[in-house]
Each structure stands twice: as C-alpha cells, then as structure tokens.
C-alpha cells in the first residue's frame, strides 16, 4: 500500500512538527487509497475531489490522535469511511428507482440477472456496477455503506467493523434486512416492467 521510498513513521513525525513538505508527500501517498473509498461511497451531488479534500483536512486535524497501534493507512481509511458516511447522512432524500430511470444497458442487465444464469459480458459488467450503485442509493446511509463493503468490495464483517467501528451483530442484521429490501425492490421493478 505504501509507496516505495516513503518512510511513513518519519513522515508522520515531520507532519506533527508542521512540516509542509512532509504533509504534501503524505497527501500524494494516500490519495489513491482515499479516492478508492470516496468513489465507492460517494453521495450524489458531492464532488469526489471536495470529499477527498475534507478527508485530508480531518486527517491533519486529528493526526495527533493517531496512536500508532494500527498502520496509518488503516486509520486514514477509517477517517475516510466515517467522512463518507457523514456525507451520505447529510443527503436529504433517497430516490426511488424505477425502470424508466435506467438506461438501456442497465435495463438489459436487470433483465439478465432476473431471468438468465448467463455470465455478463464485459460491457454488462460496467452497467451492472452502475445499477448496483443506483440500487444501493435507495437504502439508508448505514445500510448502503455496509452492503457496499460486504457485497461489492467483498470485505468481511470484521473488516467492516474495523473500518466503521460498528458492532458485528449490527452489521450482520442490517445487511440481512438491506438485502431483503433490495429483493423487494427487484420484484417491484420487474412488476413495472411487466406493466
């Protein structure tokens, strides 16, 4: 994860002493990691760059609280996930997804997923990812974050717990209920298709 050449411990020490150049190196080093998290949990109407900047701002503001018991990348990931969660929470409404809102590729993917067992072709995989994200947008921020990490990023419950700080049983129960909601949504959309 760490770029070859950057001594993270030394860099952090310099950042704590308010060294701007070290801070710049740290941002450059962690940008891909932060951006990956931002892109996975980006709320609608929020620019990914703005969110990344907010995350780095928080990282610097609380850097003195980093105790060093976990790798710094893990600590930053947690800051990033929590910032994304807060941004998701600030979204006032969660849109209802209808068949009419889907583009052609997404509608095809939906039909294939429901009716056939055939593996999606490469173009369909991208549409599948977009459709999955759209469906997750209908869930509450907590459910969305959990399901996105568990089902799209294939993280374990322990990893989700580590990143969010939420209780393992809460994560499991929420994931179970969120999947039921999504199944119902599938059924609703297919009904709309029939009409």
């Amino acid at each position: 994860m760490a770029e070859a050449g950057l001594d993270m411990a030394a860099c952090l020490e310099r950042v704590r002493q308010r060294d701007e150049e070290a801070a710049r190196s740290l941002v450059r080093e962690l940008y891909p990691l932060v951006m990956k998290i931002v892109r996975s949990h980006l709320p609608r109407r929020i620019d990914e760059e703005d969110l990344a900047q907010t995350i780095f701002g928080k990282m610097f503001a609380h850097i003195d609280q980093y105790s060093g018991t976990v790798p710094f990348e893990h600590w930053v990931s947690r800051v990033a996930v929590n910032t994304c969660f807060n941004a998701l929470r600030s979204e006032r409404c969660r849109p209802e997804l209808r068949m009419a809102d889907l583009n052609e590729e997404e509608a095809d993917v939906l039909e294939n997923v429901v009716s056939t067992d055939k593996a999606p072709d490469p173009a369909e995989r991208l549409a599948a990812r977009d459709l999955a994200r759209k469906m997750l947008e209908m869930l509450s921020p907590k459910d969305r974050l959990i399901l996105s990490m568990l089902d799209l990023e294939e993280r374990s419950v322990a990893e989700v717990r580590q990143l969010t700080g939420w209780n393992a049983s809460v994560i499991k129960v929420r994931a179970f209920r969120a999947r039921i909601k999504l199944r119902k949504q599938f059924a609703k959309m297919m009904k709309q298709e029939e009409i």
Binding site: A23, R39, G57, F60, V113, F186
Partner: protein, 95 residues
C-alpha cells in the same frame, strides 16, 4: 429456492474492470494543507477567545464576590457617615 437477484447483480458488478487509478488533481495537496493551516489558525484564535472569555467570567465573579463580602462594612460605613453628618448638624444648631 428463489434466486437472489441482488447477489447475482453484485457478483456481476464485482467483475467490472477496476476504475482507472486516481491521479491527484493539480493543487489538491496545496488546498488540503491550506485547509489544515486555516483550521490550526482558527483553533489558536478559538483558544485565545476561550482564554479571554474565561478571564472575563473570573473577574466578574471576583467582583461580585468582593461586593458580597464587603456589603456589611459598606452599609456600616454609610451609617457612620450619616451619624457624623447628623452630629455635625446638631452641633452647629447648638447655641
């Protein structure tokens, strides 16, 4: 058993090619550092404001306390002054 459409969709979504690695936009590091320093400045201003406010509250409390403690003696002093004035008047009225 009914197929789980969400799981199948998620499996298809996972097979999507990874998004291209994010290249840092020009100036993001500068903006992040400027934000950090601005916050630090705000924090310093905040701590000064907090200190001044605390000093103001403390001095107000000390003032109030000193008034309470000295209230009795102030009253007595007033009474004594009145008595002196009265006796002076009486003495001046004596033939």
């Amino acid at each position: 058993m009914k197929p789980d459409n969400w799981k199948r969709l998620a499996a298809a979504a996972r097979q999507a090619p990874a998004e291209p690695p994010a290249e840092m936009p020009f100036g993001l590091d500068t903006r992040a550092i400027a934000d950090w320093q601005a916050r630090r400045g705000d924090n310093e201003t905040l701590s000064w404001t907090f200190l001044l406010r605390s000093a103001l509250v403390c001095s107000a409390l000390i003032m109030a306390l000193s008034v309470v403690v000295n209230y009795q003696s102030l009253q007595e002093r007033e009474l004594a002054a009145e008595a002196i004035a009265e006796s002076a008047i009486q003495m001046s009225m004596l033939p």
